[in-house]
């Protein structure tokens, strides 16, 4: 996939990984890897951006005597996913036009 196109999708894919349950860095990578290649160094800036833009928030929980950061999708993030769904329909029709 084109790098720029992939970059555009990555934020949404990470956000979608948080849609059903809160998750942590390593698990997000594992979940997303079935649909898209995502490295640890790529995930860090994406999470940072999602937090800064208010699409996700973070909390810390103790796990096996250490602290683990969990990321949670916010209402704004849910809204962003809904908007993406509308965008997807548009993208789909563009692709259908290109491939016609």
């Amino acid at each position: 996939m084109d790098a720029q196109l992939k970059k555009g999708f990555l934020e949404l894919v990470v956000l979608a990984a948080l849609k059903h349950e809160d998750s942590y860095g390593y698990k997000i990578i594992q979940d997303v890897s079935s649909v898209m290649e995502l490295s640890e160094s790529t995930l860090y800036p994406i999470l940072k951006r999602l937090l800064e833009q208010g699409y996700a928030d973070v909390y810390t929980t103790e796990y096996l005597s250490r602290l683990r950061k969990y990321y949670r999708i916010t209402n704004r993030g849910q809204q962003k996913l809904k908007e993406a769904q509308i965008d997807f329909e548009e993208i789909k029709s563009i692709y259908e036009f290109i491939l016609k």
Partner: protein, 180 residues
């Protein structure tokens, strides 16, 4: 490399390059590594797969400057074109420099070893001639010195050029991907 060695190296790299939020970056990688190990991954293999600390740091810096530019909505098109040409010229000069320094290093090693070998064998042959012994011991030391100089030059060259060569390879990979 162990987790602590990796985190120590990453910390030094982040501080050296003034990367934003170094503590946050370290805590992120510490957690990722701990989770990978808890999930059964091999510590050294996983850390190896994370890539070099230089690459991680560059990635963070690149993303940060991209976000800053988008936030400021800078007209970056012309600037990008300009910086690409400057980068290409820079890399060509750098490659030329590496080749020259590498040749100097090879010459030093070759001449050092030759001098050392020559002095060593002549020293064995003239075991009873005091003047010759002084002369060839001197040449032996000189040969060792030149070899050491060559090794030092190579080590310095590898240390200095590795991050730049990685950057260059990354850039070429990006071009190839764009071309596909």
């Amino acid at each position: 490399m162990t987790k602590y060695e990796f985190l120590h190296k990453l910390n030094l790299e982040l501080l050296k390059n003034k990367c934003p939020d170094p503590k946050e970056v370290l805590s992120y990688y510490e957690e990722i590594i701990a989770d990978a190990i808890d999930s059964g991954a091999n510590e050294e293999t996983f850390i190896h797969e994370l890539g070099s600390v230089e690459k991680i740091c560059r990635y963070i810096q690149k993303d940060d400057s991209f976000v800053e530019k988008v936030k400021a909505k800078e007209p970056i098109k012309l600037q990008t074109v300009f910086s690409t040409s400057v980068r290409i010229i820079g890399y060509l000069i750098f490659l030329w420099f590496v080749v020259i320094m590498g040749s100097v290093g090879v010459s030093l090693l070759a001449s050092g070893f030759s001098l050392f070998g020559f002095a060593f064998f002549r020293l064995i042959q003239s075991a009873y001639d005091l003047n010759a012994i002084f002369l060839f011991v001197g040449l032996l030391l000189m040969g060792s010195g030149i070899v050491l100089l060559g090794i030092t030059l190579f080590r310095w060259l590898i240390k200095e050029s590795r991050p730049k060569l990685e950057q260059l390879l990354e850039m070429i990979q990006q071009w190839i991907r764009k071309g596909e």
